[in-house]
Amino acid sequence: MTRYPLNLLPKESFKNIQFDHVAEIRLLLVRVTSNKNILDENGQIHSEHICIQTDHLKDYSTNLFGVYNEEHVAIEWLKTDNVKSSDFFDIWENRSICQEPILNVHFCINQEQGLFFLKTSDFHNKEVKHTTSQDIFSSKVIHTPTKSNFWHCSIRWYINGVDSVEKTKSQRRSIHTIARTMISIKGKTEINISDYSVLSPEYYTL
């Protein structure tokens, strides 16, 4: 890879994907990890590779598999000031035009990075109930395209339909433990990709 894959950048003709409208389609999300050795002794995703900061769990970054594929997992953003001050990670909206990131200026290729897959159906509109409080914890997959990656998606978590950030510490801990458990048991490093679909352009073009 000598330049940033242009097929990751949003186009003016694109629109947001509504996961409620594609619920019947077998789709995969890809989570990038800092290395490839990410399983625990039982073959499940090790908690240290689920996220590197707590905050990342409540708005869990993934990528819709298809146009975004295994080759793109090696893209690592540089931690330089010009990347931090850039708008590459801002949410893409109003069909704005996006700047192309430059190799070794904004990003590098790191073949050590790993990945795991999550099925959208395991996380979209899924619910778990607290046994005594009866609080309902739910998750949704939301398309959150950024200016450098149209295929960026988030898994968000709700308590009784309200975003978890507005809830008590104990409730937030509840949702974090549920999120960690679900990602650990549902995440797969190997999957038969032919069993899954690539989203048809009709769902993301105007």
Partner: protein, 162 residues
Amino acid sequence: MIAEVPTYQPTPPAQYFLAEIQNTQGKNLMYNSAFWGNNYPDDNVFIIRQANETIRKNIRLEKDITEISYRLFSEQFYENIKQEIFNFLNKHSFTKIVVEPTMDDSLLIKGFQGNIQFFLEIFPEQSNNWGYEAFINIVENGEIVLHQSGRIRQLSEYLNVK
């Protein structure tokens, strides 16, 4: 003031070891004379090896839990949780136990009881009398079938229900 006479308490690994020995082949082998015989027939060699393996596993478990607790939290946190954790582990016949720190400042212990998997997550917490907040998720057939919070000894009961 009369000083309290200390009573012997086995260490958590020793308790676990004793429980495992008692569970082996459904009888209390500690009181089986063949177990202590001079000839050590094959069965008993097997049992001794199994017991040694159990001791090794429990020493490793205790080491993992202690290290993570001391590294991420505090000696006080470990003091608060250790007895309840080992009671929890002793009470159920768990296999494939894994101990991990999380990036959420909690200690995660997971393992299996047959086809059921548990995820026990413990956070340091100063606002209650026991010094931690624990959550359990019980997973069956790849789905969370139970989510509960509370003290470890209470959460342990949910594994009996399942």
